[in-house]
Symmetry: C2
Subunit: 96 residues, 2 copies
DNA sequence: TCCATAGTTCAATAGTTATTTAACTATTAT
DNA sequence: ATAATAGTTAAATAACTATTGAACTATGGA
């Protein structure tokens, strides 16, 4: 567990890069509209791309702190990290 | 003057790409805080990079419809396109 | 007309990003 | 122990992005 020391604009750049992709926008929208935790697989099934690619996109979202992930059995459960959206993009989710 | 036909998510991707850069964030913040039209040169002077590069960044912002530009004499005057921020990123500017 | 100012465009380059395939780890069930 | 399920990692590749310097266009002033 390493500590990241980045300033607010670096954070914004990371967040905007993470959101600047159709697949990742689709994931965010899915999580917002389902309004509950989903498995990586459950999300990935609805995006037509490889599981390796989904894993790549989840990493980008996680590194931007836009999602929270916890492990349960073989699966990983993912949900939106609302406070980050509140801080950096208030009301954005409602525009989706 | 060509017409662009892009859907909302393509628009979001374009906007997020445009904002995912420190120089462009700096420009947006400057325009927001100055709260008035500025010349390209006036903005560029405060960003330490070449005028060619500033021109490149302004193009990215303009293509994402985040700024409005009008020509006056030799100069170009730039200002924020508030309705787009309102539609796609409500309240974002206030977080800067 | 000639010069200065304000921006754009082009080509080159270095770095980054998205995607695929294949091989890997971890957990659960038989 | 083996197999199935769920996800990660690595290498390769193609496409895209940011930056620079030089050459260019357009406008205004001496």
């Amino acid at each position: 567990m390493t500590i990241e020391l980045i300033n607010e604009d670096e954070m914004r750049v990371k967040i905007f890069k993470a959101l600047a992709d159709p697949t990742r926008l689709e994931i965010i929208r899915m999580l917002y509209q389902n309004n509950k935790e989903m498995t990586f697989g459950g999300v990935g099934d609805k995006c037509q791309t490889s599981k390796a690619n989904i894993s790549y996109h989840f990493r980008a979202l996680r590194e931007a702190h836009l999602i929270k992930v916890r492990k349960e059995a073989q699966s990983k459960l993912v949900s939106l990290n609302f406070p980050i959206f509140e801080q950096y993009l208030p009301s954005f989710l409602d525009t989706l």
